[in-house]
Amino acid sequence: MSAGLDVTPPVLSVRGLSVRFLMPGGRRVAAVTDARFDVAPGECLALIGESGCGKSVLASALLGLLPGNARTAGSALLGGLDLLTADERTLARTVRGRLIGLVPQSPAAHLTPVRTVRSQLEETVAALTATRGRAALRAAAEAAAERAAFPADHLDRHPHQLSGGLAQRAATALALVGDAPLLLADEPTTGLDRDLVDRTADELRRHVDEPGEGGRGRALLMITHDLAAAERIADRVAVMYAGRIVELADAAAFFGSPGPRHPYSRGLLQALPDRAFTPIPGMPPELGDLPDGCAFAARCDRATDACAAPPPPGTVACHHPHVPEDVRA
């Protein structure tokens, strides 16, 4: 899907999003800096990067769930609403669950342990839709479970009686109840084994492709460090490093040929056990103490004096990106 030909307006449009945490002693932690991306209907954008690079902070910013010492800048437009400036009342009543469905990181911790899946689904249906009456709620909850392929005979179980995969489906069913145009999946596959990762990813993809209200697909923003899951279902990939999106690329080109252009993305892929299996040397910088220039320069084999200056804006934030000729050489 090329941005130039795409005439449908994006579901989510993020421009210049920055998040700073004010710490005691006047210290500032730059968790997210100048993030810019769109997610279109029927599209899956995977946001990938090492742990601690700011991915989850970005997700919290979109949901208005940042702690009190966070300051945001920029805009994140969902429909006509700027998520960053919306007040808590708007976020609680129209955004969470209704405009953005959250597929959480650890479903077992997201579900209420003392109530059955059915009771939680019915409560969510009653809160988010106009369905009223015991029989109608029961039917709607069963329909919601079916949409997420959650087996009906497990509805009366408590979360601790479910396997990891089924708990994931229960959480996905809850996220789908509000029929939100944007699904936000925060590390949906962490700790699952490979078969379950594949199944969870495929199910998320199915919800993207399935036309929602108005006949358009849902948009999915998947935050993950699992490159295999991203490769499996993403249309586009955004690579985040030290709070910045350093590369935004088409998934097929990124994982296949010609491959990633930013040296960091390249290093990340080369660390996979089915590729070179070599780690990127060094460790990510502290978000409270970022250099003025390129934050990756200290770990980069292509770094020169030019890297002391901030990298150029664009789809690849690098002074010396790989160009397709390099790949052939």
């Binding site: 090492e50 742990s51 700790g191 460090h225 990340l268 056990p273 990127i280 460790m283």
Partner: protein, 217 residues
Amino acid sequence: MLELRSITAGYARNAPVVRDVSLTVAPGESVGLLGPSGCGKSTLARVAALLHRPDSGTLLLDGEPVRRWRHRAPREKRTAFGVVFQQARLSADPRLPLTDLIAEPLRATGRGDEVPGRIAELAPVVGLTSDLLTRRPHEVSDGQLQRACLARALVLRPRLLVCDEMTAMLDASTAAALVAAVEDYRAATGAALLAVGHDRTLLRRWCDRTVAWDSLI
């Protein structure tokens, strides 16, 4: 040399998680144990590291049968093993700065005087910088904490490493770095490895030999 012979183990009476499983890890060998989640492979790894008493079966460490488990195991047997678990957060005392976390096994075995030397040796091996060593677990990322947990497993120079899903929560680069650190240690000391996981590609790449759980039962 570690031999597990017809091990049956579990947590409830009459409901064993592991039934009649045998596995051998030769000196210096690296064995990958591959299985889906919930199959009992972590329980077997706990038995192998003397952390869980099996209901029946024999465990031979260098030809000698093990009769006592957990804190009752004799020190020289317990310290032959270094263990790294999947969830670094759950296996690290939240009150301890990373230095003390890594040094704990030395202090517990009365070798506190070796602490400064071993920390200085191990920090670069696992890729921890000096400013990270003074922090507590909540001040570091999952990847950094797992690096400290690996250093803790190596601090007593074990003859056998047991890594139970060591890299499952980590990004690709940190995973590759930790595997490289384990392999450097093994190359230097000739230690054996039992790596438990569900990632076929990773274990095939990492270990001399991979064993599928299905083939053991």
